[in-house]
Subunit: 295 residues, 2 copies
């Protein structure tokens, strides 16, 4: 399998789908729509929706079935980026090599664009439920419930992350932040794909474990890139974590300790999927990509 071209194919599919949800008509709130579009289409990796779809495709083919949840989770992800970047929180000026939302527009617009994207995620879900067959409703409502719980965790994780800035924290707190701030949403993505595909409890557990492991790997890699990545490729400044005395997997275990941990956890994640053979090839390659990416 050519992983890179499959990845690109997924990204194009998702970008095409997301663009259907962008309101372009002339209206009093036009700039708010532009601002939501600006962040949503700023060139993210689309990792979250890809996880939903690729997990579903281990078991089933009709990819359109996943699309509303894939779109909704990408909206939530972008809401969280816009709000995290705000002057009142991380005060970041650049993201994906472009000015952050409040820099490009203004603070009021960025706050409301974030609110709008979070709420739009639920609009997408509500319309999906309204158009569902009776038989499909229970699993979709279960997903809606897990979705809202994961977003709750993400917000709590972001809060604690903000709270501990410049403080020495325990390994327990570092783990708490990661599991809530990034882990919950990544795990949710895999679980959404699996629940939609109506997998067994055993499969669900296995896939959840894979998701938790690549989520941790993703965070460790993020911390490594923040320390020694290439600013031009990353599209954001490097070394800020150190300046802000942020507690990360790098500040906790050192660069080489973090890299060892990343290696080990990636191997374990891949192990979980071996049972699915070539059906899980993309997700296995994705775990390697998370470890090896340079942005």
């Amino acid at each position: 399998m050519d992983f890179k071209s499959k990845l690109k194919q997924y990204q194009d599919l998702i970008n095409g789908e997301l663009s259907k949800y962008i309101e372009t008509k002339k209206c009093p709130e036009e700039m708010l729509n532009h601002s939501m579009e600006y962040s949503l289409m700023a060139g993210g990796k689309r990792l979250r929706p890809i996880l939903v779809i690729a997990t579903y495709q281990i078991f089933k083919e009709d990819v359109q079935e996943c699309m509303p949840f894939a779109v909704a989770i990408e909206m939530v992800h972008n809401f969280s980026l816009i709000h995290d970047d705000l002057p009142g929180i991380d005060n970041d000026d650049f993201r994906h090599g472009k000015p952050t939302n409040h820099k490009k527009f203004n603070e009021a617009t960025a706050i409301l664009a974030g609110d709008g994207l979070l709420n739009n995620a639920y609009r997408v879900i509500s319309k999906y439920l309204e158009n569902s067959s009776k038989e499909d409703l229970p699993k979709k409502i279960k997903i809606f419930q897990e979705f809202s719980d994961a977003v709750d965790k993400m917000i709590k994780g972001e809060f604690v992350d903000t709270e501990v800035e410049g403080k020495q924290i325990s390994e327990e707190t570092l783990e708490y932040i990661h599991k809530h701030k990034t882990g919950a949403l990544l795990t949710l993505c895999v679980r959404m794909g699996a629940i939609l595909a109506e997998v067994s409890q055993e499969d669900l557990n296995r896939l959840t474990s894979y998701a938790e492991k690549i989520g941790l790997a993703f965070q460790i890699k993020d911390d490594i890139l923040s320390e020694e990545g290439d600013e031009k490729i990353l599209g954001k400044p490097v070394g800020n974590d150190k300046i802000l005395e942020k507690c990360t997997y790098v500040s906790k275990y050192g660069l080489s300790g973090a890299k060892e941990k990343l290696e080990k956890i990636t191997k374990e994640a891949i192990e979980e999927l071996k049972i699915y053979n070539e059906k899980a090839e993309f997700l296995i390659e994705l775990a390697k990509y998370i470890k090896e990416r340079n942005k």
Copy 2:
């Protein structure tokens, strides 16, 4: 009917219900929970959940059936107040006679508390759907859908309101802002009660018209109070709209013009409910209360 004691009874019922959703356990995000509780229990009038319940009670008795939507809408209302008060938007220091959320806590906490309340509203709805009978799902999903659309309108209305600050705007734009920023949510409340009670399309139209009219009356009265209310009773400064050159129903029609409009629209709202006789007595008294309130 003793309107004031019935109102108090409703408020107590809602406050009791809301308090069930407040997390009090020791946890890393404890302060975030305190911050959400601070705003949620700051002594609002509970107008929105009351509209849900009182509308439902024209037709049916089992008030518990309304509670999740009543709680969810009050969460959304408080999310919008917290974000509107932020330095990046209205920069208000007081609300209900107390420091605003970001003044009491800090900006990061206030942003995330608002996010958390918006998301919690959907958590409440998702759990309600999960525990519903199959037969009740279609009407509740319809409500979920209208709910998310109304919140979308509210966010757009807030955006346009922010945009036009200090500008001369047309009657059309003033109406657009009101209908989106406050009208949509108030109308939603009445419609939620009505749809839950499974009323006819004719009743739904009639109640929607009542809701639109009291929504407009509420906004006009708000503008009047902002101009000539008692700061001590209101719990916030008076005259700010003029200083900020905000376009309001008072700046547009003058104080006496706004009062005339308020009188007329309240009468029309009450007219819509006459058909329900004493069953609608509370909602009729509520329309009068909205017109006559001093805070």
